[in-house]
């Protein structure tokens, strides 16, 4: 997301002058190597190799790197939480002067939750669903303050929850009764229960909406400053790291690539990999519609034509007053819970060849709307016209046409491909259904499609799991292209991808759009991506359309308060 946070550098200097130089480091990692034994007897996986770094009191260190680069492994190793039977940890990890590697389990218990605490990515899975949040906090306190009474611990827990903005009245509630942001705040409260010297936050905001993400990060920073806690912030998102950390360490394949003060690293990355990573991250100030730098191609050579879409004679898609309700859960015969109003009175237009971005936070009804367009969901009310024809009750003929002309690309590239079908079989289905080609011709055409998305014909007989995430998403795109559609509905097509892969896929989509003139409905919660890729943007909030305008206009002068908030969260 955004990279240059004004003042980040200033803060770094400030911290260094006050804390880092006066006392020794809270955490000192030397030559850390972690490897996992393969339970099936294969070669062990080395997740982290020869890593060294220091963390001073009050300092915030960002640990970034793409998925699987070993970030979480480091975090767990610091607390000695790896299963000793399958994991080999060598090197040295000193926590406040105390060695962690090779230390007895019993000695580590005092460290965990006391000197050092953890916050994981997903608070719902990290909090026990069976115990009240207050109790979980109180337990944390009692474990490290033996002899404390239940009442006392409970009081402290309530206080701490209050500090993170959870009302005291809700301390008896269970995690599932809280929203994602609240849960994450509970996790933070729990971690800070015993004033730890070190806080390890492993992707603490990845599962959250941008807005909530901002709130949680702000809270974390506030508390950290107050308590003077050192923080190891693990993330794959440079944007998150940029606004929060003093120093950043880039990992790749378990090996350190580069480590520098954050501002410095973002402004002038030394290593090509870092440079690519920084470049690939979209910013709200980049030029929309340009080719993005990737790790392989840090300085993109290709350019795309500037896009112009005129108001057409006939809209490709016209949606009026669309509403979708899901029946509530059945309780007792005759009794039903309130229906879920997923979409209420939404109206949309898409011109041929146009790209419409659909943004909004989680659960706002984006996917539901796009499913209606794809004919996968029957609307409760409203009118949906495709090329002038009503698609809500299609006849055979129309259904066939729709299924040819509207294609889907999904968020999760692995889930959208049948793991038991080869690429050839996957591509064959739309061709068989919508083209008169015979078997051999279809195979030929499949190969062509693969080449179009930058894969090769030899990949035809492979299964999805034999591809990387980016490659899988390309297969998904190739499948969507197969019947030569006029509209592609892409539901979060890049959200699950690492930044650099995301850039590649966006480049591909832009290229195809230019070449084939397809219209796109591009669903995303990521405003930076939408801004870069779309011509027009529609904003949804709680099932309603709150704004729908030209891209530049939206980002320059948002109409509604909600949009403004969304944009603010990104900055």
């Amino acid at each position: 997301m955004n990279s240059t946070v004004p003042g980040a550098g200033v803060r770094t200097a400030e911290v260094e002058s006050t804390a880092a130089e006066t006392v020794g480091p809270v955490l000192s990692v030397r030559d850390l190597t972690v490897s996992f034994a393969d339970p099936r007897g294969g070669a062990p996986v080395t997740a982290v190799q020869g890593l060294s770094f220091d963390l001073s009191p009050g300092e915030v260190l960002g640990l970034v790197g793409e998925s699987g680069s070993g970030k979480s492994t480091v975090g767990l190793a610091v607390l000695g939480l790896h299963d000793p039977r399958t994991t080999t940890v060598t090197g040295s990890i000193r926590l406040d002067g105390q060695e962690v590697v090779g230390t007895e389990e019993s000695a580590l218990r005092g460290v965990r939750g006391g000197k050092a605490a953890l916050v994981f990515q997903d608070a719902l899975t990290s909090l026990s669903p069976f115990h009240g949040v207050g109790a979980q906090l109180a337990e944390m306190y009692r474990l490290h303050h033996p002899g404390t009474g239940r009442a006392e611990a409970g009081r402290r827990a309530a206080e701490m929850l209050d500090r993170v903005g959870i009302p005291t009245a809700r301390t008896r509630d269970y995690p599932h009764q809280f929203s994602g942001g609240m849960r994450q705040r509970v996790m933070i409260a729990m971690a800070l229960m015993n004033d730890p010297r070190l806080l390890i936050a492993d992707e603490p905001t990845t599962a959250l909406d941008a807005r909530v993400q901002r709130q949680v990060l702000d809270l974390l920073g506030e508390l950290q400053r107050e308590h003077g806690t050192a923080v190891l912030l693990v993330s794959h998102d440079l944007g998150v790291v940029a606004g929060t950390t003093d120093r950043t360490l880039v990992l790749r394949g378990g090996v350190e690539v580069e480590s520098a003060p954050t501002a410095e690293l973002l402004a002038a990355p030394r290593e090509p990999y870092t440079r690519a990573l920084v470049g690939a991250a979209l910013r709200l100030d980049s030029v929309p519609g340009t080719a993005l730098p990737t790790v392989d191609e840090p300085a993109p050579s290709r350019t795309f034509r500037p896009r112009t879409v005129e108001r057409p004679e006939r809209w490709l898609v016209e949606v009026d007053d669309l509403s979708v309700r899901f029946p509530g859960r059945r309780r007792f015969p005759g009794l039903r819970a309130e229906p879920v109003r997923a979409v209420e009175g939404v109206g949309l237009r898409i011109a041929p060849g146009e790209t419409l971005g659909l943004v909004g936070e989680s659960g706002s009804g984006k996917s539901t709307t796009s499913r209606v367009l794809a004919g996968l969901q029957r609307p409760t009310g409203g009118r949906v016209l495709y090329d002038g024809q009503d698609v809500t009750r299609p006849d055979r003929e129309l259904r066939k046409r729709l299924s040819r002309e509207i294609q889907l690309v999904f968020q999760d590239p692995y889930a959208s491909l049948n793991p038991r079908r080869t690429v050839a079989q996957t591509l064959d289905t739309p061709l068989r259904l919508h083209t008169p080609l015979d078997r051999a011709e279809r195979r030929e055409r499949s190969a062509e499609l693969l080449e179009q998305v930058g894969l090769e014909a030899r990949h035809l007989d492979r299964y999805p799991h034999e591809f990387s995430g980016g490659q899988r998403q390309r297969i998904g795109i190739a499948r969507a292209l197969a019947p030569q559609p006029r509209l592609i509905i892409a539901d979060e097509p890049v959200s699950a991808l690492d930044v650099s892969v995301q850039a590649q896929v966006l480049n591909l989509l832009m290229e195809l759009r230019e070449r084939l003139g397809v219209a796109f409905l591009f669903v995303s919660h990521d405003l930076a991506v939408v801004r870069h890729f779309c011509d027009r943007v529609a904003v949804m909030h709680r099932g309603r359309l709150v704004e729908s305008t030209d891209r530049d206009q939206l980002f320059a002068a948002p109409h509604t308060e909600y949009t403004r908030e969304l944009l603010a969260a990104v900055h």
């Binding site: 389990e105 965990r112 953890l118 899975t125 909090l127 026990s128 069976f130 474990l143 599932h176 009794l335």
Partner: protein, 330 residues
């Protein structure tokens, strides 16, 4: 929660009615003639017809069934072979002409045996199955785990009728280490009750514990990898305490469901166990009723078994809901 309970009860009742109808249709459609069986070998066709009439078997099947259901709810009068009528109190499951007894009474006579057998076996099975599962999971991948897993596998593969005889021979008849398997009402003599049931409990418990050991092991292993268990350990909780407090709670759901199922199955009559150990419980009763073509008794036993099954599965569901606030509070 209340609506959950109500819905579950309604479901259970519907299932029971369907089971009774199916059992009724199935058994009464069988070629055996209950009237002939009740009348005895010297009866001629006229007498059989008379008996059939007094037993109500000349009525259409549907009428018989509705009478039966009415009897279950309110009790009814039933004609005997000799033309006299017998009153059968609710819940009336019919009258057994083989035993000269209302089926519900006969079942009530046999139920304590099966209850005792089930309760003890269930206890053995839980202690042993869950114990080994827990230890296996804790010692995952080590020798103890492999040893225990092997042991439970052998248990799962052993047949009660084989193990039962061998164990009886070894422990009772040739060495006299254990008392003869038998049922004494616990109210009469608690020690004799436990002594007589000891071997059946252990054999039945052991053979069935394998399923539990395996399920609890895999459930615990799965839960152990849950993030919240890792969080708990990250708090500074010891391994054992973390597993006892968090892992076992998380793994409990499917186990409770399996316990409910198992209790239901066992209460429905462990025919083979009761045969092997010569215990006169519901299982043997039912098997004998089948052999004796005593249809009311068969249908009664089937219904009783289904009742237990439905009841315990429903109880397990409730327990799971109670254990898991996510279900309870929805």
């Amino acid at each position: 929660m209340l609506s959950f309970v109500l819905r579950r009860t309604a479901q259970a009742l519907a299932v029971l009615v369907a089971v009774s109808a199916a059992a009724f249709a199935l058994f009464y459609a069988a070629p055996a003639d209950p009237a002939r069986a009740a009348c005895g070998p010297r009866c001629d066709s006229g007498q059989v017809a008379a008996v059939r009439q007094s037993m109500g078997l000349d009525q259409p099947l549907l009428t018989q069934y509705t009478d039966y259901l009415a009897g279950v709810v309110a009790g009814r009068d039933i004609g005997d072979v000799d033309g006299s009528t017998i009153h059968c109190d609710a819940p009336c499951l019919g009258y057994s002409y083989r035993l000269h007894q209302p089926v519900s009474e006969a079942l009530a006579d046999h139920l304590p045996v099966t209850l005792s057998l089930t309760a003890g076996a269930l206890a053995v099975l839980l202690v042993f199955g869950l114990g080994t599962g827990f230890v296996s999971a804790l010692r995952h991948g080590r020798r103890t785990d492999r040893l225990l897993s092997g042991f439970t596998l052998v248990g799962a593969s052993l047949q009660i009728y084989f193990l039962g005889y061998v164990a009886q021979w070894l422990l009772v008849y040739s060495t006299g280490l254990l008392p003869l398997p038998s049922y004494t009402p616990p109210a009469d003599d608690l020690a004799a009750w436990a002594g007589g049931m000891l071997l059946p409990w252990f054999v039945l418990g052991f053979v069935n514990s394998a399923v539990f050991a395996r399920l609890s092991r895999s459930q615990l292993l799965e839960t152990m990898n849950e993030e919240y268990v890792r969080t708990a350990r990250g708090k500074g909780l010891g391994r054992l305490r973390a597993h006892l407090k968090y892992t076992s709670r998380g793994a409990a759901g499917p186990l409770v469901q399996l316990i409910g199922l198992e209790a239901g199955v066992l209460l429905g009559g462990a025919v083979i166990t009761e045969t092997v150990f010569g215990l006169n419980g519901v299982g043997r009763f039912a098997a004998e009723a089948v052999a004796g073509q005593d249809l009311p008794a068969v249908v009664g036993a089937v219904l009783l078994a289904a009742c237990f099954m439905v009841l315990f599965v429903a109880l397990a569901d409730l327990a799971v809901a109670w254990l898991d606030p996510r279900v309870r509070l929805n």
